[in-house]
């Protein structure tokens, strides 16, 4: 029982973070039809910024409430970086073949990877005090860190919020219209450039938020972005590229399989994930929720 509770919660924890990263990737693809290979680096930026601000404030003796307020800084900085990158670097590429978009974002990945190294140095950063402050609670006879439950809650809230945002607001309608047919939306008076910046910024915000909430529990390390990107690919391939429901379902599947893998078959854990992705592609080429 304890085993199931702990691993079940860990799977949800993992799924929450993955949903934030992969959901952002999928949202950006859904609206702009580009795959941002540097997406994982925005997650890493979120993690490093939050770890740095909380670490600095903690060293300066800031009270716990302030530390908690500093948690979203990573997400905000990642969003700001996104808002700068889209119009300057990505916009010239929408009219060119998709290969060039992959290439330019690959170059961006290399640049951001080293910028993180340049700014924060080679050592891992962590914001452990926030994690400790939450303490732990007992569920079904198992002690579990309360902070992790908060992360799960953030993941679920983010999913609900996004769903409401995209399906229940005026902005969401415009966003979906642009995603369906950019030219038509533009002809109907939608400012497509603005929608693109907004969508890209939201996507980056989600990735940054993923990094920000993960960092009290684990350290921000160099290379974390690249690892996260690969797993989000698995998520979006399973769920369907460009679909938020797909990102949600895919994140749950990947989270569960990964957690089961870590406990039961650690050597082939990643290989099993890719195998699942390959099977999904064979059965439903566009992914579980994708439009063909």
């Amino acid at each position: 029982m304890e085993f199931l509770v702990i691993h079940g919660l860990n799977a949800l924890l993992y799924s929450s973070v993955l949903f934030l990263i992969a959901g952002g990737l999928s949202l950006i693809y859904g609206v702009m039809r580009i795959i941002n290979l540097a997406h994982g680096n925005l997650y890493a930026i979120g993690a490093f910024v939050t770890a740095w601000t909380i670490g600095t404030a903690s060293a300066a003796g800031a009270p716990n409430a302030v530390l908690l307020l500093l948690l979203p800084t990573g997400a905000i900085v990642a969003a700001a970086v996104g808002a700068i990158l889209e119009p300057t670097l990505l916009r010239p590429f929408y009219k060119r073949p998709e290969e060039y978009q992959l290439l330019v974002t690959f170059g961006l990945l290399m640049v951001l990877e080293d910028l993180i190294h340049l700014v924060w140095g080679p050592n891992p950063l962590s914001a452990g005090r926030v994690y400790e402050n939450f303490g732990s609670i007992t569920i079904g006879g198992a002690r579990y860190p309360a902070y992790n439950l908060a992360v799960i809650a953030v993941g679920i809230i983010a999913a609900l919020f996004l769903w409401a945002f995209i399906y229940r607001t005026r902005f969401g309608i415009v966003l979906r219209a642009t995603s369906q047919n950019m030219r038509m939306a533009s002809a109907l008076g939608v400012n497509v450039n603005r929608i693109y910046i907004q969508a890209f910024t939201i996507g980056c915000f989600m990735a940054g938020l993923g990094g920000a909430i993960v960092v009290p529990g684990q350290s921000a390390v160099l290379g974390m972005g690249v690892d996260a990107l690969i797993l989000s690919f698995v998520v979006v391939v399973i769920g369907g590229l460009g679909s938020l429901e797909g990102a949600f379902a895919g994140a749950l599947i990947v989270g569960l399989v990964r957690e089961a893998g870590v406990a039961l078959f650690p050597e082939v854990e990643l290989a099993v994930l890719y195998l699942i992705a390959a099977i999904v592609l064979f059965v439903r080429p566009a992914g579980l929720f994708g439009r063909a």
Partner: protein, 324 residues
């Protein structure tokens, strides 16, 4: 007549390049020769890669898989079968990379464009994770050691540097030449023309009776085999096979090389591979932030010079021919 003239023109630059490559170990120092050697090895891989990107219009972000498969095949043959013959290494690597690219290709060629890219990437990561996790077989991140092999049955001399910069250099140069000729024949054959037709217009190609998926799969496997040859040649040169050659960022470097040289031209990938090797060697020596430097180069390249070095050369040649 036309054919003769183009052949002459090809010879006009191919002969000096061949002479320069042959003379290199005697003219430049061992460090330069080694760098050039790495460049030639990567050149074979990128040449194979470009059959997909330049000629079939498919961007693979997973060519590290086939390169790494070649390198690891050599390492396994050394570790588990005590083989030391380079010819057997090459045969084994080609076989393994063909099998793996066939398996992956069957899945990947069902898709094009971005989906093809991320699928090849994801599948290459499977191999990486296996090499990484099964450390009792693959040595994990420590990798597997690869001693100097025997070439054509002749055991290597005692001096490893001497061996690499002379015997091994000429061995690689010979195989490189064979690969370039084979690829030249492939892209100028009816099969190569069919690939280009698929690249330019899939629907039309299908209507004239080309079996698109099968052609793409064959191109994929040939491309993988070239990468496997390069991986096999790289293994003794590096002396160590680590998961680093399987990780997808290495695939990204292969793409980078092709774009740097210009994937629209036949020799662009080779030029790009050599140029990239020099660029990376000096960037790594110059700063720890070499990725920042190379990443910036890539972004500028894609923004301003999408046709790469060869595109630039063509532009210059055209300007010289028709001065205003």
């Amino acid at each position: 007549m036309q054919k003769h003239r183009s052949l002459l023109r090809t010879l006009a630059w191919a002969v000096p390049v061949a002479i320069a490559l042959t003379a290199a170990p005697h003219v430049v120092g061992p460090f330069q020769t080694l760098t050039l050697l790495y460049g030639l090895v990567f050149g074979i891989a990128v040449l194979g890669f470009n059959l997909l990107l330049g000629y079939t219009g498919l961007l693979s972000f997973g060519h590290s898989a086939y390169f790494g498969a070649g390198a690891y095949t050599v390492a396994f043959m050394v570790k588990y079968f005590k083989i030391a013959s380079m010819e057997l290494f090459l045969a084994g690597s080609v076989l393994v990379s063909v099998i793996i690219s066939l398996l992956f290709g069957v899945v990947c060629v069902r898709y094009t464009k971005i989906f093809f890219g991320i699928l090849t990437l994801a599948l290459s990561q499977v191999l990486w994770s296996l090499a990484f996790k099964f450390f009792w077989v693959t040595g994990g991140t420590d990798g597997l050691r690869i001693p100097t092999p025997s070439l054509l049955g002749a055991p290597p001399g005692a001096d490893k540097m001497e061996f690499l910069t002379f015997q091994y250099y000429y061995y690689v140069l010979a195989i490189f030449t064979v690969c370039v000729i084979v690829m030249w024949v492939i892209v100028h054959s009816p099969f190569g023309k069919a690939l280009q037709a698929i690249r330019d217009n899939e629907t039309r190609a299908e209507f004239i009776g080309i079996r698109i998926r099968r052609y793409r799969l064959i191109a994929f496997v040939v491309s993988g085999a070239f990468a496997g040859v390069a991986g096999a040649l790289w293994a003794p040169l590096n002396g160590l096979a680590t998961p680093d050659v399987l990780v997808w960022t290495f695939s990204g470097e292969i793409v980078f090389m092709a774009v740097l040289g210009g994937f629209n031209s036949f020799i662009g990938p080779i030029v790009g591979a050599v140029a990239f090797t020099y660029l990376k060697t000096y960037a790594v020596g110059f700063t720890v932030y070499w990725q920042l430097l190379l990443g910036t180069v890539l972004v500028v390249l894609v923004l301003a010079l999408p046709k790469g070095i060869m595109g630039m050369v063509e532009l210059l040649v055209a300007k010289v021919r028709r001065p205003r």
